[in-house]
């Protein structure tokens, strides 16, 4: 029996079905975070100080700090102004299919592995994966695998939510799993 769970992926629009408030909010927030990331990246690459950027935009430094500090403060107006002021650039306007921007797609497949190998700290470090154990004490000895009932993890740098069952886990594309767990016995 597996105790793992999946994070529900984004429901895509179909037919005449109304899109929920949550989904619309997510798409808006996702766009804002993408834009925010773009501006931060350009700002860091530019080597400019925030005071310089603020002067170019005749903006209060505190207002600029708020723009750079949180995605939700970024509007189309501020985006275009900031990109131009920082780097003399304008935003790209290509429309991409959901998930296309991510190097690794957010798709979940079940893969059976040796759980004992996965949870060894050395493996955790190599794979940059954190397991959060639920209803079980944390043990690092492989023979304690029976204590592990459930875990979910996120990894930075890969669109991935993981959950660990007693002998299986869920994650992103299979090829990535094989690559990342090549040192682990696949059951």
């Amino acid at each position: 029996m597996t105790t793992s769970r999946q994070i529900t992926p984004l429901p895509m629009p179909t037919g005449d079905e109304p899109i929920s408030k949550g989904v619309l909010s997510y798409m808006s927030a996702r766009y804002q975070t993408n834009v925010h990331s773009l501006v931060l990246e350009e700002f860091e690459r530019s080597g400019m100080t925030s005071a310089q950027v603020a002067r170019r935009l005749r903006m209060d430094p505190g207002q600029l700090a708020r723009l750079l500090g949180n995605p939700s403060n970024m509007t189309l107006d501020t985006l275009s102004g900031l990109l131009f002021a920082i780097a003399g650039k304008e935003p790209d306007t290509n429309a991409l299919k959901y998930g296309e921007m991510d190097a690794r797609q957010n798709e979940f497949k079940e893969v059976h592995v040796s759980s004992a190998d996965i949870i060894q700290p050395v493996i955790m470090r190599e794979t940059k994966i954190v397991f959060l154990l639920v209803n079980a004490p944390f043990k690092t000895e492989p023979q304690e695998i029976g204590m592990y009932k459930r875990a979910i993890a996120i990894e930075r740098g890969a669109m991935q939510f993981l959950s660990l069952g007693t002998n299986s886990f869920w994650s992103g594309p299979t090829n990535m799993i094989k690559q990342r767990y090549e040192k682990v016995e696949v059951a």
Binding site: S20, G22, K128
Partner: protein, 140 residues
């Protein structure tokens, strides 16, 4: 990610006002997962905007993800297991956060789950993320 945080982000697709906040929070967590550029605030005493910040008391090394939204949005609390490895443990609506309780509760949750394995204790902000981040300072 703890089950309670997973439940919250899983409710993001619902058609409710709370789901709007959950969805914004999910997008922020995914922003981190996707290795997008983010701002990290190290000094809890500096009142500067950031995506993720160390919270008071700093000695607990508890961080929060700061999702803005209606009534302040949502804060997700957690700690790092290692560089780049953030474990999201608890969450609360921003306007309902008890700042005396939440960081301690977060650390208690960590101890309950990981027993004697302590959170990762970096000496400065650069010890926590390896790429695509900037440090939020009071001077911008």
């Amino acid at each position: 990610m703890s089950i309670c945080v997973a439940d919250m982000v899983d409710a993001a697709w619902e058609d409710s006002d709370d789901a709007v906040l959950f969805a914004q929070c999910r997008a922020l967590l995914e922003d981190y997962v996707r290795n997008n550029w983010i701002r990290l605030r190290w000094d809890p005493d500096q009142d500067v905007p950031a995506n993720i910040a160390r919270v008071r008391p700093p000695g607990l090394y508890v961080f929060d993800f700061r999702s803005k939204g209606k009534d302040g949005g949502i804060r997700v609390f957690g700690a790092f297991a290692a560089k780049d490895w953030f474990v999201a443990l608890t969450w609360e609506f921003r306007n309902e956060v008890d700042w005396d309780f939440e960081p301690t509760n977060c650390l208690k949750t960590w101890i309950d789950l990981f027993n004697t394995a302590p959170p990762y204790l970096g000496s400065d902000a650069n010890d926590y993320l390896s790429s695509n981040y900037s440090i939020a300072h009071a001077d911008g």
